[in-house]
Symmetry: C2
Subunit: 447 residues, 2 copies
């Protein structure tokens, strides 16, 4: 819908007819807000909806709700859609097509059971289904969340807040494996502190059902009773329709595009075909590698870029650097750039520096401790990545570090950065600067 | 003391003897914390002290407290100091001298009155004197703060918190004239909301005294009764001793140094003479102009750079970009780079863009509104400056903008920045990105 809006801004209804197809019941909502709605921090589902179909209609954008596109015919320049309400079929011709099918939750075969109680957390319809399940009589008491990434951890917290007993299963050695183990350990403590049982190194083997719904999760260490199972195993790009119409995906499974979000096929750019959002792959600006990073912020930017270009303007999507942030209870967790493992995989030789500091001047009320870790290229000292774990006012400092990574600053240059200081906002040396100093020492020591 | 500590880290006591002279009663304290101590947010004076003289002694740094240096003899390589406790005189030879005399509050002739009740806010001794005055019997009831900059506004709030009636006098058209008038208006509202009477466009003509202490502030509009007067008229570099020893100051009144903080005199670098802190001038990286920016964060960095170099290492101080932050009640105010007036003075042609957004996703509890203004060079779109006025979690976003200014990013490139997003931390488009989008539109419109 970002693409549609931007195109409409540049070309009037007489110049460009815009039709959007949506399989579900909602447009333009915050999927990232679903765990907070489930957990109760956000009272109202409609608060998550940024723009209703009627608002788009008013702007001259036709939205065909509950229409599932089942085929794209690039030669005939038309899409075929099923009307999920009346079962009818609709063919719609196009000159330009924006493919923004998003992603689908990774769902192993064992998770495809008859009966209910197993949920992904991808769409607002998913959220509504979870809410309905939690409100059943008798009320579900035991939740098992499978996967300890952002969504898994956020949903585990949401379930605890709803009063369920919660077990979080993670196959790797730590939850939140998108940050380094030394930082992840703090997250594990915070999750456990909420009363969530965390089991790492656990591979799920299957589900058990009873009375037509899930009753347990089977692991090598035995069965875990469960009245509801939430899948937080990540998502994969939803590219089926594109592939069926002859567009091969990239190495990450996402569609390939150029900088202006024009789809790139086997013989170069595909005329009149655009793609944006969780279904595309992009480039990591630091590793130089193709990556699939399904985050709302990238999807929005890509949609905007596609819409501007489609509308006759010029904009590019420059790639990502792996910035992310979340919150577990009052623990804030953020990352940008490459982790140690990612830096090593990309081929970098690097040093690391971790420092503890405070969010405000130590003597100022409300100061809280935070841990910042920097990863810098050996020899050059270029900042490759950063991670923060702390309390209030900690995590958003990742944006400063993200902009430093983006600009390929060295940690030594960063020690001179003119960052804001006043006692209610930071120590006289902001934690970011203290970390840069320590990292500079490490770079020098490594030469 | 930063310089002393860094030099000591690199050269042992057998290799380098270090002696520091301090006129007052305290070393290494947070002068920026004084308003919060006066206002009561910080309970204890000692909380402001980072390091006691005894701690330096333990590290092999001799600190001669209550010694006022009265002369520097560069030819004989010695300083002459008065012991303020016993009245004696001490001569101390040196090979290398670090001049870090700081700044002195601007004190017009009319403020130099007999008797008490008129205070600058520069040293911890000043803070102690204010505290003692406020605790007098009968208690002061009416405070007049002269000057509406950071210190003036912070002190006005401190006085209100101590239960005094407070009038803030500012000679320009708005308090906080370090930000543009459109943004400053919000600050004025916040100050008035605290119950502080704000009078702008008011030039103080003199003070009245009674019974040996201040009793009123005289303005063209009449006399304002005052039991205590706080001067927030800024500071000027304390360079007297350097000038007397033949070192001319720069155009801003501060000492000139090279990038390694070596003092530059009429014939180039002065052998073995270093300077750091509020007594030096530095360069504004965006305007290219020499500036005097007396802030603790620069002073600390400069001291560290001087100490590293003096100790045989290598470090440079790269200049400033005018970042600053403060808080009035719960209103957060921040700036970086150039304001409109500064940009015009530097010769830039520019566009501006102001946007309102929220600190968190609009639907997430605790989201608060903020105003961000960007100033970008016409045609190139280079970010020249930024200002933020908002509530909790607003102001520290200035660091992101500062790093963008530092790296001479264009506002168009900024629209693609990979900043962190999750509902508790920002809308899906962070306010910084929304501002960059609007500024990009303005740049395009100006071409």
């Amino acid at each position: 819908m970002s693409a549609a809006s931007q195109a409409r801004k540049r070309r009037g209804p007489d110049d460009l007819e815009i039709v959007a197809f949506e399989r579900g019941h909602f447009t333009s909502y915050s999927a990232c807000g679903i765990p907070y709605w489930i957990g109760g921090a956000v009272a109202d589902r409609d608060a998550l909806i940024a723009r209703e179909p009627a608002a788009f209609a008013k702007a001259g954008i036709t939205v065909r709700m509950r229409h599932e596109v089942v085929a794209i015919d690039l030669d005939r320049r038309e899409v075929i859609a099923h009307d999920l309400e009346d079962g009818g079929e609709r063919r719609e011709g196009f000159d330009e097509l924006v493919y923004a099918a998003g992603a689908v939750p990774v769902t192993p075969d064992w998770a495809r059971i008859d009966g209910g109680g197993v949920f992904g957390v991808q769409t607002l319809d998913d959220g509504a289904a979870i809410q309905a399940w939690l409100d059943r009589d008798p009320r579900p008491r035991r939740a098992v969340v499978i996967g300890g990434g952002y969504v898994g951890v956020e949903m585990a917290e949401a379930m605890i807040r709803r009063g369920l007993e919660v077990t979080l299963l993670e196959k790797s050695g730590q939850p939140m494996s998108t940050i380094d183990p030394d930082m992840g350990e703090k997250v594990r403590e915070a999750i456990c502190g909420l009363g969530i049982e965390v089991r790492t190194g656990t591979r799920v083997q299957g589900l058990e059902t009873a009375h037509g719904r899930v009753s347990a999760v089977v692991t090598p260490e035995g069965s875990l009773p469960a009245d509801i199972v939430v899948l937080g195993l990540g998502v994969r790009p939803h590219t089926t329709l594109a592939e069926e119409s002859g567009i091969p995906v990239g190495v990450t499974g996402g569609l390939r595009t150029d900088l202006r979000m024009r789809v790139v096929g086997p013989e170069g750019r595909v005329d009149g075909l655009w793609a944006a959002g969780d279904c595309v792959q992009t480039v990591h600006r630091i590793s130089g590698q193709p990556v699939h990073v399904p985050l709302g912020t990238h999807a929005n930017k890509q949609g905007r870029v596609a819409g501007i270009n489609l509308g006759g303007g010029y904009a590019t999507f420059p790639g990502v650097i792996g910035t992310a942030v979340t919150k577990v209870c009052d623990l804030e967790v953020a990352r940008t750039g490459l982790t140690e493992r990612e830096a090593a995989a990309a081929g970098f030789a690097f040093v690391t520096a971790s420092v503890e500091s405070t969010s405000r001047a130590g003597y100022y009320p409300g100061a809280s401790r935070m841990l910042i870790k920097l990863i810098a290229e050996r020899r050059t000292g270029m900042l490759l990545g950063a991670q923060i774990v702390g309390r209030a006012e900690a995590a958003k400092r990742i944006d400063s570090l993200a902009i430093a990574v983006w600009n390929r600053m060295t940690v030594e240059e960063m020690t001179g950065l003119d960052l804001s200081y006043a006692p209610p906002f930071s120590p006289v040396w902001d934690p970011v600067l203290i970390a840069a100093r320590k990292a500079t020492d490490e770079v020098h020591a490594s030469r």
